[in-house]
Structure formats: structure tokens, C-alpha cells
């Protein structure tokens, strides 16, 4: 081979089928456990029915054992069915639909049954998992092993091979964006600064609400992260749609179009973050050791955003109404996220709204670090963590399962 071409994936990446199956089995169990953990976290925050106390043990090992065993059973069942005519039904897409259904059932089950971890609950979950697992022998089990396409790890491998494309494209995009305007980067920084200046005037002078720190510092810390999130969401919806011409003509890993958006968002974030640091310094808040938490918080937010973006980018192609719906939701979410107000101001009975919102939790931790210079509440980050990685995995799997259909929607 003269060049290690990206298309040359079959030669470069080959795992035995058994290993692929094992990896996939693990991933499936992980996803269901992730869904369960999310449900538990939601259940802990809701004040419906029997309120869960702090003494509740959120991850009983027995439960996981049963889940894994049921998966294994279902897995062998499906492996058997792959040799029968039933295998026609086992397409990646149908499998993914069932996976969604299963995750939903798991969450609902947890919400409904969690307060008493009874025999009934265990039976319920093992049934769901067994049912799901039958359809969840993800890609490698059914597809011709010689072809070897469509496994999760091949996708990642192909993405890695195309990293040059991502880097180059991102660099060119950023260059052209900043070179076409006269004061370039300034525009990116201007918006959050202007917004927070106006709002600072409105809130601290007109409305006379008292914050323990200057309002502009308080607000800007939240806004900077929110901008990263919302630019990712809005950009992600248009990511595939706006590149339809290219997608119709060139074969490249489509997720690069989505990653491009988050990359640009991150570059913008760097500048707005710089502005935030300067504003903080002007108000007497200087960098401190707690900043070591920042990369972790950023990673959480990016994973969460990417997960949502993968869903939205392919869905917005199939259902065009989604972009309107999402812009409404984002508007509402902005006010439900503690950006303008501290969490302490929320009455106790509405507190759960904030606790259910991963972005709000991340922003709160970010503000703890940036503004108050204290360590974030690590326990409160547990829920965003599980949510982010589960969503990322599911979103990516969904995106890749639908990837081959994208060009049809042009």
C-alpha cells in the first residue's frame, strides 16, 4: 500500500468476531446500567410517592449481576437466532430502536419501583434486559464477518484515520471565519460581554437583587458555558443539513461534520473564557488551584452536548420540525438553568428542576470553581457524568446506524 488510506479499513483493523462480540456485550450492559443509574438519580431527585432517603444504596451489585446474566442469556439466544431466518429482523437500526425502548423501560421501571428493591423489581428488570438482549446482539453478530463493516470500533478506527481531515477542516473554517470580519475574534467576545453588562445593569441597579458577588461575574461564568452548549446544539442541528452538497458527493465519516461544530464552539469558548478571566480579575477574583477541575467539567459538558448533537443532527434531517421545537426548548431551558439566579433562591419544591438538568449542575460546579474558588460538589456531578457518557455512546451509535441513509435525504 502506498498510502494508508482511510478507506482501507478492513485490512488495518481486524478483531476476531468473538472479541467484538464480547466488547459489544460489555457495551450493552454498560448502557443499560447507565440508563438505570440515570433513573436512580432522577428518582432520588423527585419528590413523588415514597421519597428516597439518603440511605438508599444506588447501585446494588445484585442488580447488576442479574442484568449481566440476563444479557448473556439473551445474547446466546440472539447468536442462535442469527443462524435462523429470524436474522433478517436484526438490523442495526431495529436493534437500536429496541435499545432505546429498553433504556426507556429501564428508566420507567426504576422510577416506578425503586423505593423498595423487591423481588418484583428484580424480576421486572431481568425480563426487560432479556427481552432487549435478544435484539441487542449488535452489529458484528449478524453481519457477514468477512465484510466486517458497521461495528462500533471500526467506526472509531475510521474516525481516527480521518483525524487529519477533521483538523484541517476545523483550521480552515476558523481561519475563514475570523479573517472575513474586520475585528474577528472581538465579535465572539462582544456578545457575552454586552449581554452580561446590560443584564448586570438591569438586575443589580433596576431590579435591585442582591448577589453575593458582582452580578457580571456571576452571570458571565454561567453564560460562557451556556454558549458552548447552545452553539453546539444549534450548530449540531444544521451540521448535516448545511453540508448536504458535500455529503452527496464525498464519502467521509459523517460524524466529522458534527465534531467540527463542537470544535468551533470550543475555539470560541477559549476566547470567551479569556474574557471571563479578565472580568474576574478586574473584580478581584484570581485563578486558583481549584481550576484543576475545569478540564473535567468541560469534558462533561462536551460529552453531553455531543451526545445530544448526534441525535439532533440526524433527526433534524428526517423530521424538519425539530429545529423549531429545539429552539423553543432551548429558550425555556435557559431560564430553567441557574444562569441568571443562584440555586439558593429557588424554593425547595422547585429545586428538583435544577437537579434534573445536567447542564445546570455542570454550570453550578463551574461557577463554584470560577467565582467562589471552592471545590465543586462532586456528588452532584455523578448524575451529569453518567448522563453524558451514556448519551454520547447512544447518540454516536444512533448516528452511525443512520449514517448510510443520510445521503438519501438530500
Amino acid at each position: 500500500m502506498a498510502i494508508s488510506f482511510a478507506q482501507q479499513k478492513f485490512e488495518t483493523f481486524k478483531l476476531p468476531l468473538s472479541v467484538l462480540r464480547l466488547l459489544h456485550y460489555t457495551a450493552n450492559v454498560a448502557i443499560l446500567i447507565g440508563a438505570h443509574l440515570i433513573a436512580v438519580q432522577i428518582r432520588l431527585r423527585l419528590t413523588l410517592g415514597n421519597v428516597l432517603g439518603a440511605e438508599y444504596e444506588p447501585q446494588p451489585p445484585l442488580f447488576f449481576l442479574i442484568m449481566a446474566a440476563a444479557q448473556a442469556l439473551a445474547y446466546s439466544l440472539a447468536a442462535w437466532s442469527a443462524q435462523t431466518p429470524l436474522r433478517r429482523l436484526l438490523t442495526p437500526r431495529s436493534q437500536f430502536r429496541v435499545l432505546l425502548l429498553g433504556a426507556a423501560l429501564t428508566v420507567l421501571g426504576a422510577l416506578w419501583l425503586l423505593p423498595d428493591l423487591s423481588q418484583l423489581q428484580l424480576v421486572y428488570f431481568s425480563l426487560i434486559v432479556a427481552l432487549l438482549g435478544a435484539c441487542l446482539v449488535v452489529y458484528p453478530g449478524r453481519i457477514n464477518p468477512q465484510q466486517g463493516s458497521d461495528t462500533f470500533f471500526l467506526h472509531l478506527w475510521r474516525l481516527w484515520h480521518n483525524r487529519a481531515l477533521l483538523g484541517l477542516w476545523l483550521r480552515y473554517n476558523i481561519q475563514s471565519r475570523y479573517s472575513q470580519t474586520i475585528i474577528g475574534i472581538f465579535w465572539i467576545v462582544l456578545l457575552p460581554l454586552a449581554t452580561s453588562a446590560v443584564l448586570a445593569l438591569a438586575f443589580s441597579q433596576f431590579l435591585r437583587i442582591n448577589y453575593d458577588v458582582p452580578f457580571i461575574v456571576f452571570f458571565l461564568a454561567g453564560l460562557v458555558l451556556w454558549q458552548l452548549f447552545s452553539s453546539g446544539i444549534f450548530g449540531g442541528m444544521a451540521a448535516i443539513l448545511s453540508k448536504m452538497g458535500l455529503i452527496n458527493q464525498v464519502n467521509f465519516p459523517r460524524e466529522i461534520a458534527v465534531l467540527l461544530v463542537i470544535g468551533e464552539g470550543l475555539v470560541d469558548f477559549c476566547f470567551t473564557f479569556l474574557a471571563l478571566v479578565i472580568v474576574n480579575a478586574l473584580n478581584g477574583i484570581y485563578p486558583n488551584g481549584m481550576w484543576l477541575y475545569l478540564p473535567f467539567l468541560l469534558l462533561l459538558l462536551i460529552c453531553f452536548t455531543l451526545g445530544v448533537m448526534f441525535f439532533l443532527s440526524s433527526l433534524s434531517l428526517m423530521i424538519r420540525d425539530i429545529s423549531q421545537l429545539v429552539s423553543v426548548i432551548m429558550q425555556l431551558l435557559f431560564y430553567l438553568t441557574p444562569i441568571l439566579y443562584p440555586v439558593e433562591n429557588i424554593p425547595e419544591q422547585f429545586r428538583f428542576i435544577v437537579l434534573l438538568n445536567p447542564v445546570g449542575l455542570i454550570i453550578q460546579a463551574f461557577r463554584d470553581v470560577m467565582v467562589y474558588g471552592r471545590a465543586p460538589d462532586v456528588l452532584s456531578l455523578y448524575y451529569p457524568l453518567v448522563m453524558a457518557f451514556t448519551l454520547l455512546y447512544m447518540g454516536y451509535a444512533y448516528f452511525k446506524a443512520n449514517e448510510s441513509r443520510l445521503a438519501d435525504f438530500a
Partner: protein, 268 residues
């Protein structure tokens, strides 16, 4: 570091199959079939009312099968809308077939559409690097060849202007030049030669003959009988999504010309 001009490793084995297309069907989701909640609900309602509204689905390709061996150059001809571009898109992995299988063994470069996957905002030079990356070539691998690419495409005065200002002939020339300089084992070309002037066409054909003699595989769509005759021993004739004829270029072209003259109105 691996470079571009290493000899083709597998050329010694000239009998191996590089492209295998088996019973391929491609059904396009027409606009009225776009799956949406509203549409599904309406369909359910109609079905309940026993109104037959589900029309015949539109197949761009029906039951197409052929294989291409290494080193062969194959032309695809046919009237507009006969599925030529769809076939190339399936071959280059932009779409998946609705039924059947497509297998391409070896790295390929495909040149589909006149914009050839350029980003209009960027200059020609940047697009060279980007396009090479689309073909799976790292920037450092293509860097030594950039001058050659510009030279071949004959666009040196305009190389730093944004591609959106290029004429269609210029962008097609640049796209073609990049595609042949990344030295793929298989090249898919979709009527790109049609927009170049005849001098450039001659140059392209000469270059493609050279590539063919090196043992590379060329699949190209063309309406230009002269180019087809010069370049390809074998021609596929697609008609209304079906493979109507597959064989020696002279024979197929003769049949095709005859068909065009005598059945043109029937074919509508």
C-alpha cells in the same frame, strides 16, 4: 514515512476482482415518501379507509450485477436518469444499496458532481489539501505534489482565489487533477471530462491511459463516445435502472447509438 509514488503493490495479480456488485437495488425515498409523523398517520388513516394510495416505489437501480477485475477500465453509458450517478455513489460508499451488495477492494478516489466536494469559501490551494484529506491522504503526504496538481490543472493564476469564483471547467480540472495525484487503485469519474475543453480532455485521457497501464482500475460515466472508445475496452449500458448490456465497447456503443436513433421517443 510512506510516500505516494511507491509502485502499486498488488498489481502483479491482474486477475483479482476489485469491484463486485451483486443484485443491487436502490430505492430513493421520494419527497412524498419522506417518513414523518404526519405522513405515517395519514397513511394509516388512508389504509384504514381502504384507499390505495401507496404508489409504485421508484427504483433508481434494479438488479444490477457485474464485477470488475483489477486493471480494467469500464465506461458506464446511458440516457439521463438511467442510474449512472447512483451507481457511482453506491460504489464510492456515499449511499448504501436498498438490496444487494457492493464490494470495493482497494482504495479509491471518486469524483462525483462538478463541485467535486470543494468548499467554496476556501482558496484553491486549501481545497487541494482538504480534498486530499477527503480522499484519505494526510496533508504531509500530499504536500510534495501540490505544485504538480496546480500545474496539471492549469489554474496557477487563480490558485489563491476562493473556489466559488471558479468556472465549472476550472473546478472540474482541479478536482480531476487531485484525484489522479493521490494515486488511488480505483478511480470513479462522473462526467467531469465533459466540462473541460478538448485540449484538457486529451490531456486527461492520455493521463488516464497511463494510469490504466500502471494497473489501476477506472470506472467512468460519460456521454462522449470518443473518450469511451479510447479509454475502455468494456462498457456497461444502463437503461431505466437496469443493466441493459455489458460487453466490448464497440458492440455496446453501436447498439446504444442505434437505440438512440430508433427508440429515442419510445424511451421517454
Amino acid at each position: 514515512m510512506m510516500t505516494l509514488d511507491q509502485p502499486l503493490a498488488a498489481t502483479s495479480d491482474t486477475t483479482s476482482t476489485v469491484i463486485e456488485v451483486q443484485g443491487v437495488y436502490k430505492q430513493y425515498a421520494r419527497l412524498e415518501y419522506r417518513p414523518s409523523l404526519r405522513h405515517e398517520a395519514l397513511n394509516l388513516l388512508r389504509r384504514a379507509l381502504r384507499k390505495q394510495t401507496v404508489a409504485q416505489p421508484f427504483y433508481a437501480l434494479q438488479d444490477v450485477s457485474f464485477t470488475v477485475r483489477r486493471g480494467e477500465s469500464v465506461a458506464i453509458i446511458g440516457r439521463n436518469g438511467s442510474g449512472k450517478t447512483t451507481l457511482l455513489k453506491l460504489l464510492s460508499g456515499i449511499m448504501r444499496p436498498s438490496k444487494g451488495s457492493v464490494r470495493v477492494n482497494g482504495r479509491f478516489a471518486s469524483l462525483i458532481g462538478l463541485q467535486a466536494g470543494f468548499l467554496g469559501e476556501l482558496s484553491g490551494r486549501k481545497n487541494i489539501y482538504l480534498n486530499a484529506a477527503f480522499h484519505g491522504v494526510m496533508p504531509r503526504q500530499i504536500a510534495p505534489y501540490v505544485e504538480d496538481i496546480i500545474e496539471f490543472a492549469e489554474i496557477r493564476p487563480f490558485i489563491d482565489t476562493p473556489v466559488k469564483h471558479y468556472s465549472s471547467g476550472m473546478s472540474a480540472r482541479l478536482g480531476f487533477s487531485i484525484a489522479i495525484h493521490v494515486l488511488p487503485e480505483i478511480i470513479f469519474l462522473d462526467e467531469v471530462l465533459a466540462v473541460g475543453d478538448s485540449a484538457f480532455q486529451q490531456k486527461c485521457i492520455a493521463h488516464m491511459l497511463k494510469l490504466r497501464d500502471e494497473g489501476r482500475t477506472i470506472v467512468f460515466v460519460s456521454h462522449d463516445a470518443g473518450a469511451v472508445q479510447m479509454l475502455c475496452q468494456r462498457t456497461l449500458w444502463l437503461h431505466k435502472g437496469r443493466l441493459r448490456m455489458d460487453g466490448e465497447t464497440e458492440l455496446v456503443l453501436e447498439e446504444y447509438q442505434y437505440f438512440l436513433q430508433h427508440h429515442a421517443s419510445e424511451a421517454q
